[in-house]
Structures are given as C-alpha cells and as structure tokens.
C-alpha cells in the first residue's frame, strides 16, 4: 500500500510554496487581528512601569470594581449552572412535545444584542418601567444597582451551560440512569452518582465559558449600571470610564486583568478539549 498512500497524499495536498504562502497568510492575518490587540493591552498597561500599573489596580475604585465583578459572577454563574442542569435533564432524558421550541428559546439570548439585553430590564424595572412605580413605593432598587447587574449578566450568559450539556446528555442516553434506578437507587442517588460523573467535564466547560462572559460583559451591564463609581461599576465599565478620562495606563491595567482572565479561560478550555475531548459535546460532531 505505500504507493497508494503517496499518490493519495499528493492528490490531497498542494505544492510546498502554495502551502507555506497559505500558512503565512493565515498567520499574518491572525497576528494582526488577534495577537497584536492582546499584546498592546499589556504593553500599554506597563508603559509607565510596574509601580503605575500596581497603583492603578489598587486604588479604591478599581478594587471596588473587581469586587463587584466577582460578586455578580458569583451569583449569575451558579444560577445559570442550576438552570443548565435542570434544563438539560428534562430535555435530554425525556421525550416530550415542544422540545425543539424550548431549545430555541433557551438559545435566544445569544441572538439578542447585549444593549437590548440591558434595555429590557430597564423597561421592566426602571423608574418609568412596568414595575417601576411598585418598586419605588416599596423602596426596592434594581436598575442602577447590583440586582440589575446580576439580571443582565444572567440574561447574556443564559445558554452557556445548557447548550453544552444538552447535546452531551442526549448522546449519552439514559441507559445508565435506568439501570441504577432498576437496581434500587433513588432519583437523587442516580443523579449524583451516575449522571454527574458522566457530565462533569462538560459541566466544567460550560461553567468556564459562562464565567468568562459573566465577568467580561460590557454592553448589557453598561445599560443597567448607571456608572456610579465605586458602587455599580464592574471591571469592564471601570475600564471604559478610565479610558474616556484619558487615563490610559489605568484603563489598560484593569483591562490586562480581564485579558489574563481570557487567557486562563482559553488555556483551561484547550486543556479540557485535548484531555477530555470525547467527554465534551462541543468538540464532537
């Protein structure tokens, strides 16, 4: 068969110079569009030295922004994790009418502009919103406060966990769960000891992507935040304010933290794909 192999590979490949021109073109494009923006963030952040960088990250408003971002993600991500598991359990393990419609609706937030995702909560809970008068008379503030930030973040990160788990659980079927139940396990035992071990890497994958978006979201939270310094500014919003004040070093310093988050996300994501690729839905087709 060696003769066949060489003819097959030459039929499917280009001459060396075409190959290297294409590789060169692709790499040049990626360097220009992906790598340079990443590099410039760190270069600008460190332009005035490490001290200025450190000062920018430790001033009270920056610390407050970091804390707020962590708080919002700490509420939004578990909420969507719980939802994702529940939704994929009922969609993947059962057959019922209207299933496809339900899947489409779960994916819906991905096709809505981030700004519209914020706008809808302003129209619902803002001063002139549908529930505005009721909320005001009860002294509850949602818009321009933390609850609004959490709601907007939940909306934009809504499908991440579900859309990773649904195809994975559908592919795994429910034979193992049925076996456990027939052998006398309770529903919860089956879930914790059979289902969760089967989906754990997919779960982590979904949570990882969900968290990256939750901490980095800008458009949606920008609309509901009100931009009160030290109070309702998440990290991306703090970056915007500093940038618009021409405080570039500080803006890029805070941005560099978010860029590091993105890099860590990419590394863990790739590691999961390489190591557990066959236990993830995203890498199978």
């Amino acid at each position: 068969m060696p003769a066949d192999n060489t003819s097959a590979s030459s039929a499917r490949s280009e001459s060396a110079w075409v190959r290297w021109t294409l590789i060169g073109g692709a790499l040049l494009f990626l360097a220009l569009f992906l790598l340079l923006p990443l590099v410039v963030v760190f270069a600008e952040a460190l332009r005035r030295g490490v001290d200025a960088y450190w000062t920018a990250l430790t001033e009270p408003d920056a610390v407050a922004a970091i804390q707020l971002t962590l708080t919002v993600a700490a509420i939004a991500v578990p909420a969507n994790l719980l939802f994702g598991v529940a939704a994929s359990w009922c969609i993947a393990k059962f057959d019922f009418r209207g299933k496809n419609l339900l899947i489409t609706l779960i994916d819906l937030p991905f096709s809505v502009s981030p700004v519209v995702s914020g706008l809808i909560y302003v129209l619902l809970f803002g001063m002139n919103g549908l529930f505005g008068p009721y909320l005001r008379s009860h002294g509850i503030q949602i818009i321009f406060a933390v609850p609004g930030l959490v709601l907007a973040t939940i909306f934009v990160t809504f499908p991440f966990v579900a859309r990773e788990l649904i195809p994975l659980m559908e592919e795994q079927g429910s034979d193992e769960e049925e076996a456990a139940l027939v052998l006398g396990a309770s529903g919860w035992q089956t879930f914790w000891r059979v289902t969760i071990p089967n989906i754990k890497w997919g779960l982590l994958y979904g949570v990882l992507l969900c968290n990256a978006r939750a901490m980095g979201e800008f458009g949606a939270v920008s609309v509901v935040s009100g931009h009160i310094r030290g109070e309702t500014n998440t990290m991306p919003l703090h970056v915007e304010i500093l940038y618009n004040e021409y405080n570039f070093v500080a803006a890029f310093a805070v941005a560099s933290l978010l860029a590091m988050l993105a890099l860590v996300t990419l590394v863990v994501k790739s590691a999961l794909e390489w190591r557990f690729g066959d236990e993830l839905a995203a890498t199978r087709h």
Binding site: L34, P37, V40, F83, L119, F218, S222
Partner: protein, 289 residues
Amino acid sequence: MTVINAPATALRQPFFKKPSILPGFGLTLGFTLSYLGVLVLLPLAALVVKAGGLGWVGFWTAVTSPRVLAAFQVSFGLSFVAALVNAVFGFLVAWVLVRYDFPGRRLVDALVDLPFALPTAVAGIALSALYAPNGWVGKPLNDLFGLKVAFTPIGIAVALTFIGLPFVVRTVQPILQDLPPEEEEAAASLGASRLQTFFSVIMPALLPALVTGFALSFARGVGEYGSVIFIAGNMPGLTEILPLLIVIKLEQYDYVGSAAVGTAMLLVSFLMLLVLNLLQQWMRSRHAR
C-alpha cells in the same frame, strides 16, 4: 410486578410526554419554564409592549427617522463587510489549521477563540489604541497610505472582523475535517488539477458551512457594542451604530424611542435566527449525503 405496573405508570405521565422511568421531569421542566419565563420571555415581552405603545404608525415613524435609518445602514453595511472579510480569512485559517502541519498549530488553534474569551471592552480599547493615528498599526497605515482607520467606518469594520472571526473558523473547521478524502482522490485521478478539485469538489461541500459562518458573524456584528464604540468615533449618521443609538436614546430618557429601535433589532435577530436554522438544515442535509 413491573409488567403489571407498566401501564399504570404510563397512564400517570403527562399527555404531551412519552413514558419513562426516570424521575424529575415535572420538577426540572417546571423550573426550566419558570426561569426562562421570568428572566428571558417576560423582559422581552416588556420591550415589545413598550414599543407597541406607539402604535403601528408611531413605531414606523420612530424606526424610519433619518438618524435611525443611517444607524441601520452603518450597522448592517459594516457587519456585512466584516462578515465577508471573515468568510475569506476565516476559511483560510480553517483550511491551514486542518490541512497543514506547522510549528505552533495547536497554539494558533486555541488563539482563534480569543474574541469569544476577551471581554469586548478590552478588545475595543486595544483595537482603538492599535489603529489610532499614533498607534502601532494606525501610524504606518496613515504615513504610508494616508489611511485613517480609527474613528472612521473602517475602524468599525475592523472591530466587527475581530469579533466575528471565530464563528467562520469554528463552523468550517469540523466540516473540513470530516470531508472524505476519496472524492478529492477520485477527482485527481480523473485528471482534475488541484485548483479544479478545490472549486468543483471541496468548495461545494463546504459552502453551507461557510454561509452559516458568514451569517453567524454578520448577526453578531449587528448587535455588537463594546468592541465598536471605542474605535468608532460615534458620529451620528456616519459612524453611529444601532446599539449605541439605543443607549443614547435611553440616556435622553426616550424610553419609547429606544424600545422601538430595540424591537426592530429584535425582529431582525428573529429573522436571522430563522435564516440560520434553515442554513443549518441545509448544512446537515449536505453533510449527511
């Protein structure tokens, strides 16, 4: 026992569901529907209700004012340009990643997802620093060609290209990977040149995926906000995108106006979703053959 119980269990199932011995259907479906209803469907309905307060004529007047129309043109036109650029270069990147081996291929493969992972505001300030008249890329472009990128429509296209690139690569890549080698070999053995094989064997098989990637990139571009506003310059009628117009109207307390534009954008998203579903069906039918 089980045999006797089976029909009884089947009878207790809701009418719209096939029987199963697994528990938790009611609980999980109930939770899913309430969570979805309260957090997604109700707020989206509020948007449409608010815009509906204008009536048909009012709504039409609001979304066809010159400033809104200009923003539509900017958002759609430049998203289209960016999606075209991505279709070409995203295809190239997917091709190189699947077909060739070179040092650092895995690293490059991982880097392609950067626009998904990098917060849009960070991408926005990074791109505007790069392409500003004194930036690393902006300065040479300005000095050599007199080309201004930041604060012009070209800048918006650059940001939308950045944001949309992974969509094309990640849609084309798996299809290219699964392309059966036999067809190409057959074409070659029947005397087709490599270029002929590419255009009459490979391209037709990849076209649905490429169009889907284009549409995803386009749809993302129309709604994009964070990465664009820093580099755009935001001049009404020239570099003002639709999402920014919503924010401006909201800041002017024009809730109904922003709801109208938001509803128009939502309708467009629904339309895109429909088109994408049809494209995916097309892709699947092609892929199955």
